[in-house]
């Protein structure tokens, strides 16, 4: 496992996570359609990722067809990644809950503006990959080139075509990052 300073992350580290994760538990999820957590929830659902909302205040409700759970421990299936939308001081209990899961999640992700080094160290000691102060939707948009449509500096250069995802012309894929994806999936 690489030692990260958590100020910056190699693109391949982030791409690897986003290409691997199939199930995300979203702690601190808000069903308010104007909140960042709802944006991320909807975005990954549209890309075929399983996204499980977690919020004790909304437990039992359904949002976009997904059941909201009160706690991580209540989710009856394995989780690849825990995405945390809670203030830094509330992160540690969430990480402790995640560490009690069996099997362990592969990734703990703290949203844009959220960083808790102590919690990160605890998770890393258990072999879990950690990302802090990033948004997975923005990172997906950046590495897929989708975010370039809104003038954002993706900090990526390539002489290869970006990959268009099936199901629409305005959805792009991440590719493997080695430039051999040829943009053929779902073209046209």
């Amino acid at each position: 496992m690489i030692k990260l300073n958590h100020d910056s992350y190699p693109d391949n580290y982030i791409r690897g996570i986003l290409n691997t994760v199939k199930t995300i538990a979203m702690v601190g999820f808000s069903p308010n359609t104007s909140r960042p957590s709802y944006f991320v929830f909807k975005y990954f659902l549209e890309r075929g990722t399983r996204v499980i909302p977690v919020n004790p205040g909304h437990a039992g409700k359904e949002v976009l067809g997904q059941k909201v759970y009160a706690h991580l421990a209540d989710i009856p299936e394995p989780i690849d990644m825990v995405d945390i939308f809670r203030a830094p001081e509330h992160v540690m209990p969430v990480v402790e809950e995640a560490l009690a899961l069996k099997p362990l999640p592969m990734v703990i992700w703290m949203q844009l503006g959220i960083r808790n080094n102590e919690a990160a160290a605890l998770a890393e000691a258990a072999g879990i990959k950690v990302v802090m102060n990033r948004c997975p939707k923005i990172e997906y948009g950046r590495l897929s080139s989708e975010i370039s449509w809104i003038g954002v500096n993706s900090r990526t250069l390539s002489s290869k075509r970006a990959q268009i995802l099936p199901g629409g012309v305005q959805r792009m894929g991440l590719g493997s990052g080695n430039g051999n994806d040829k943009g053929k999936e779902g073209d046209g």
């Binding site: 960042p36 975005y43 844009l112 503006g113 989708e146 500096n153 002489s159 075509r161 305005q170 959805r171």
Partner: protein, 427 residues
């Protein structure tokens, strides 16, 4: 696994940033997406786009894939997080202030600015209730003294047009930081090749793309670059960014878009509602121009220095204002902020006064007599008989456009031909 990812150099970014092969066709040159609108994948996709929940294209007033290539390229060259290209440099300044100020607010601006900016700030902006307070970049204390509780921004130029004035960006950035307001730097004359204001504390960079970035005098355009450095929420002073926006059912832009929220605010509030969109064709020409920016700026600077040195030896010339000259007042600042060269623009004082200025612009054959800078071609203007004609002699002198002043924008022709033209023109 921990492979080190290369950070591309400036020349590479100038060519490649923003311009991957077109995903739809594989076209290697950037396609000109000359379209007003874009079909939605389905109703849900449309709703996501309008709600800012998905990345994508809706309508060219808000975004366009050709303009986006230009935006990402300039953001990368300036070291910013994002950019927004608009119809002109003036439009860029309108959108920046629209996102930062509410009526009754103030911003501090350098007295050493492009004359068009001085007009815009003194008149049009005041009619919006955005009140400019002027400060002198040669006296940093004048910026400190201008700060009031209503101050929302500080605006300067890195190299000021037309006088060849180099601004102490870092010193003014400190004033801005202390005041808790963003520093906006117009980097048109220097371009990011010569100076990157973000490295010295700028929070927002603006450009007239018409000048050196486009570089060929063929397209009007402007751009806003978000450095991603300013905390818009800390003092709750910037409601466009830190408050729920009624235009988008309560979204808080800073919280949602993080370190590129300012560029998004300029796009989804300013550009969407005020409307100064850039034509995709102009974006194509400007983005193509930027591919050769490093080569052009190098040659512009070399030619301009040679011309400035030659002019300062001429009997007809009273003075030359160009920070590349060792004797120049701004030479020390130039060595710090623009060490690779001082760009193309200089002002020259002629001993023969007004008549000598008129004679020179009439006599030149290679130089074009027109109101622009930053073309591959050498350009000349005599402000006293053209752009500043309506002012009194005293006002002209104060504006750096006295009767004896000629402004040159040195092109990238052979420098011997440029000098020969000035020589025959001065006779």
């Amino acid at each position: 696994m921990a492979d080190v990812e290369r950070t591309p150099g400036f020349n590479t970014l100038a060519i490649h940033a923003g311009a991957k092969p077109d995903p739809a066709t594989g076209a290697r040159a950037t396609p000109i997406y000359q379209t007003a609108s874009y079909v939605f994948d389905d109703v849900e996709h449309a709703a996501s786009l309008f709600g800012l929940q998905a990345f994508g294209n809706i309508y060219t007033r808000i975004g366009n894939p050709t303009c986006a290539v230009l935006e990402e390229r300039v953001a990368a060259l300036e070291g910013g997080t994002a950019a927004l290209a608009v119809a002109s440099g003036h439009a860029a300044q309108v959108l920046v202030m629209h996102a930062m100020l509410t009526p009754g607010d103030e911003f501090i601006a350098s007295t050493k600015l492009y004359g068009g900016s001085i007009n815009q700030f003194n008149h049009s902006f005041k009619s919006f209730g955005w009140n400019v307070v002027w400060a002198d970049p040669d006296d940093i204390g004048s910026f400190e003294r201008a700060v009031t509780p209503k101050t929302k921004a500080i605006f300067i130029e890195s190299i000021a047009n037309p006088g060849g004035i180099v601004t102490d960006i870092e010193a003014i950035a400190q004033v801005a930081r202390k005041a808790g307001v963003p520093l906006v730097v117009d980097n048109t004359l220097a371009t990011p090749y010569l100076c990157k204001p973000i490295d010295y504390g700028a929070d927002v960079v603006v450009h007239s793309l018409t000048k050196f970035l486009g570089g060929h005098g063929n397209s009007i355009g402007g751009i806003i670059v978000d450095a991603g450095t300013f905390n818009w929420s800390r003092d709750r002073k910037y409601p466009m960014l830190c408050e729920p926006r009624p235009e988008y059912s309560g979204i808080v832009l800073h919280e949602t878009f993080g370190n590129f929220a300012f560029a998004i605010a300029c796009r989804v509030l300013g550009l969407r509602d005020l409307g100064p969109a850039l034509s995709p064709f102009n974006a194509f020409l400007i983005a193509t121009g930027i591919e050769t920016l490093p080569l052009r700026m190098q040659r512009h600077s070399e030619n301009a220095l040679a011309v400035a040195q030659w002019l300062s030896q001429r009997p007809e010339v009273a003075w030359v204002s160009y920070p590349g000259l060792a004797s120049d007042k701004y030479h020390a600042l130039a060595q710090k902020y623009v060490p690779k060269g001082c760009g193309a623009v200089m002002t020259v004082g002629l001993k023969g006064g007004y008549d000598a200025g008129v004679k020179l612009v009439s006599n030149v054959k290679l130089f074009s007599h027109l109101a622009n800078i930053g073309d591959t071609k050498s350009l000349i203007i005599h402000p006293a008989s053209t752009t500043h004609k309506q002012l009194s002699d005293e006002q002209k002198t104060k504006a750096g456009a006295g009767p004896d002043v000629v402004r040159l924008s040195i092109g990238i022709e052979d420098v011997a031909d440029i000098i020969a033209d000035l020589e025959q023109g001065l006779k």
